[in-house]
Symmetry: C2
Subunit: 105 residues, 2 copies
DNA sequence: CATATATTTGACAAACAGTGTCAAGTCAAA
DNA sequence: TTTGACTTGACACTGTTTGTCAAATATATG
């Protein structure tokens, strides 16, 4: 898995960069970048932002993919993952509404 | 928010139990249970199972709600939460498939 | 094949986030 | 104003995540 890691690798290779080169650009260890590309580690938000910035890609889209990956990674061994995602969606929806109401008072 | 916490409180009150009583049944501090019911803390999986067991409710459903709440809690301050959930869903779906293929080889 | 270059992996200390606990706080009913 | 139920904040403890290094593996090149 790890669409996010694949995406980084793709960006990196299309720009003819070595792991070491991209790693040094964004100031992380190349071993860590390797793990991120392969989906063995999840990037921090900061790192995701640095990468998006460096390649100049759409920031929101990239961050959504990063965050989505992070959640998927967390759920990868859970049998009830997809049910849980539905619950989470509802709950966030519900929360958004009540928050809006609260703000308007 | 916290549908999960509300659910526990509902179960507890319908069974005429005080916080302190339920807390002692499942062997946690009542302060902690209070926080869980109010959505200020996320129960551990173990605690969720103990509660489900104690009230004898559907285990899978209850765990899904627990896990969903956990994710929602994690995403509560993220602007891109709902996009991320979609990404996560896709990714898990994709992962499930490739895993299945792999197992069949 | 031998060497050089690129990437991957495992292990570990350091940093960080989550958990349980206690004592003090609020609130409502009597 | 006392009592009982619940809530909150602070803190030490625990466990997880993160970054880093060295060694291992793969890939390419003379």
């Amino acid at each position: 898995m790890s669409k996010f890691g694949e995406k980084i690798r793709e960006l990196r290779e299309c720009n003819n960069l070595l792991l070491r080169e991209l790693a040094s650009e964004i100031k992380i260890d190349q071993a860590l970048l390797s793990k991120i590309e392969r989906g063995n580690r999840i990037a921090t938000k900061k790192q995701a932002l640095l990468i998006a910035g460096f390649f100049n890609v759409n920031r929101e889209e990239f961050l959504s993919q990063w965050l989505g990956e992070k959640i998927a990674y967390e759920l990868k061994d859970e049998e009830l993952a997809s049910e849980a995602l539905k619950v989470a969606e509802e709950e966030l929806e519900y929360y958004k509404k009540t928050k809006k109401e609260t703000n308007h008072v």
